[in-house]
């Protein structure tokens, strides 16, 4: 109600004050609401605490003054320096010839205020609902990616110099769908006297098909150690059945569409067992076995380049953020 009176009083003044060249009256304002909150705060403070009274009084005085200034602006304000003659827009007649009715229309009408606040409030409510939903849609794929370390069993199961196909469940609770296959080769000792392993991940770095060792599996030597299946294989290269990718014994691409060398696992030796660490991408491997130089990069989905100019297309990959 205060609001409306503010407009009406302004409008009335403009009607009577036709000598004035004021283009428009002041529109609705939020100051009365803030003033009312201040008064309410003051009254509440009488019951609860004197501090609140002071706060309320300050709020009421500040916004009361602002409100008064807003209402009386047209009376106090200097006539803005406009040259009505130059305004040639047909539907916006110059102030000199303007009809009183046109002069009455505030620049920011109540209906426009209500429209804007309805849309704004709707957008705010929409955002409050949508953002958590969007977050839940997207984020779990990047936050819940923990996989337990895989224990491939005692080192003796990995004869020196030959590959062993080791398959295990990365997440036993999830079942077969989490089965991973690796090609493990015992490289013997490094120059520093550390045990060395080459552990290639079976997923093709073209598009993720299951790469196969190009050689016969030693059926007699197949072992199962605590859920890990170990199948020694006589292979010096790996091939992918889907699109013909071919890799050499170090996992370097030799033919076909793969864009990098085969992914590898880090490893550690715990209590005489070979334990897999994290998966990483490999740009290129030079040298072989224990003395190989491996260009290591954060893991990324198959098909993405990790080195060269093409890697600029994948500046940030999820594993850099989530690991």
């Amino acid at each position: 109600m205060r609001d409306r009176r503010a407009i009406e009083s302004t409008a009335g003044r403009e009607l009577s004050d036709t000598s004035h060249d004021t283009p428009h009256g002041s529109g609705p304002s939020l100051w009365p609401i803030a003033f009312a909150i201040g008064v309410a705060c003051l009254l509440l403070g009488l019951v609860i605490s004197w501090i609140l009274v002071v706060v309320g009084a300050v709020v009421a005085v500040v916004f009361g003054v602002l409100w008064a200034r807003g209402v009386t602006r047209d009376v106090r304000a200097e006539v803005p320096h406009v040259e009505p003659e130059t305004r040639a827009v047909a539907d916006e007649p110059s102030a000199a010839t303007v009809a009183p009715a046109a002069e009455l229309a505030p620049a920011y009408t109540r209906s426009r205020f209500l429209e804007a606040s309805t849309i704004g409030l709707g957008a705010a409510i929409g955002a409050v609902v949508t953002l958590p939903v969007l977050g839940f849609t997207v984020l779990p794929s990047f936050t819940n990616v923990e996989e337990s370390e895989a224990d491939l069993g005692p080192l003796e199961n990995f004869p020196k110099g030959t590959y062993v196909i080791a398959s295990f469940l990365a997440n036993p609770a999830a079942g077969e769908v989490s089965r991973r296959t690796t090609f493990v080769r015992n490289n013997g000792m490094t120059d520093a006297g550390e045990p060395s392993f080459t552990i290639l991940y079976s997923r093709c770095v073209h598009l993720g098909c299951p790469v196969q060792p190009n050689g016969p599996i030693d059926e007699e030597a197949i072992k199962k150690v605590k859920g890990v299946e170990l199948r020694p294989v006589l292979a010096q290269s790996f091939g992918c059945p889907c699109h013909g990718g071919l890799y050499d014994s170090e996992g370097n691409r030799r033919a076909g569409p793969p864009v990098r060398s085969m992914d590898r696992y880090t490893y550690s030796i715990k209590n005489g067992n070979l334990v897999l660490g994290e998966l990483y991408a490999v740009g290129n491997v030079s040298g072989t076995g224990a003395s190989a130089q491996i260009a290591r990069y954060p893991w990324s989905v198959p098909g993405t380049h990790v080195d060269g100019v093409e890697a600029w297309l994948y500046p940030i990959v999820p594993s850099q953020v989530t690991n």
């Binding site: 997207v138 779990p140 794929s141 990047f142 819940n144 990616v145 997440n171 999830a174 079942g175 077969e176 769908v177 989490s178 991973r180 997923r203 598009l207 993720g208 098909c209 299951p210 889907c242 998966l279 893991w299 990324s300 989905v301 198959p302 098909g303 993405t304 297309l313 994948y314 500046p315 990959v317 999820p318 594993s319």
Partner: protein, 266 residues
């Protein structure tokens, strides 16, 4: 008009009056007439039925899919009775045990290919007829979006049988998405629900296949059909009428509205 026959009165009472009642309140009857009883050029051909055929294929997909959903369960857990994943077991049940399940699943499985093939044929027809030109540009654009969402339906539906083909084809498909510049690896990880396909991937694809993508596709089809109805059907490029040639004077008047066929012209 003479007095209505008794039969006519009964028809009015039983059919026309309720229709009028509905139409007065909703405009549904006028809307249906606007949609169905349209003027089309006299020289339209069977080529212009490919869109309706694609729509029919989509309706078949929607119906059979809704029914399959009553029996299918998108779970990667192992069914203790069969020792196989639940999703695959339900597919086996639908195909081998449920009465006519093989037929409905077959309709859905082959209908998916039919739908995509018809979309491409329809698209080719529109392109060759030049029917994408003014004022039908937005019809073309919504059509392209329908094709894209239709292919998304195919992509998400392919994983659902949860067999080896489904698994590896989806792995390749997800990784294909992963090769897109910048956002690709993120998109792939989002689709798979992690670095690799896992137990969550299957229900995720099912929800997209059943709920999210149809929620996108059905409104797109609605907009597409609305635009087709609003803008009308184009003449074929060989149409002499569309080329501005005079119609022979023997035309009966009904032909102007395209209601009479085979009377003159070429």
């Amino acid at each position: 008009m003479a007095a209505k026959s008794k039969r006519q009165q009964m028809v009015d009472m039983a059919v026309l009056a309720p229709l009028d009642w509905v139409d007065e309140r909703t405009g549904a009857v006028r809307g249906t007439k606007w949609f169905l009883f349209r003027n089309v050029p006299r020289d339209v051909s069977w080529m212009q039925t490919l869109g309706s055929a694609a729509l029919t294929a989509f309706i078949v997909q929607a119906l059979t899919g809704g029914i399959l959903a009553m029996y299918y369960e998108p779970s990667a857990a192992i069914n203790p009775q069969t020792g196989k994943p639940v999703a695959y077991s339900t597919i086996e049940t639908i195909t081998d045990e449920l009465t006519l399940g093989w037929l409905v699943r077959g309709m859905h499985r082959w209908g998916a290919s039919v739908f995509i093939i018809l979309l491409f044929l329809h698209m080719g027809r529109v392109f060759l007829f030049g029917a994408y030109k003014y004022p039908r540009e937005l019809t073309w654009i919504t059509g392209v979006l329908i094709l894209a969402t239709g292919m998304l339906m195919g992509f998400t539906g392919y994983l659902l049988p949860w067999d080896q083909t489904a698994y590896w084809a989806s792995a390749v498909g997800i990784n294909l998405n992963g090769t897109a510049p910048f956002a690709g690896p993120w998109l792939a990880q989002f689709l798979a629900g992690g670095p690799e396909i896992g137990t969550e991937t299957l229900p995720k694809f099912y929800a997209m296949h059943m709920l999210l993508i149809p929620g996108l596709l059905i409104p797109l089809i609605g907009i597409h059909i609305y635009l087709v109805t609003r803008l009308g059907v184009t003449s074929p490029p060989w149409s002499s009428e569309a080329a501005g040639r005079e119609r022979p004077p023997t035309q009966p008047t009904g032909a102007r509205a395209g209601l009479v066929r085979g009377s003159g012209g070429d």
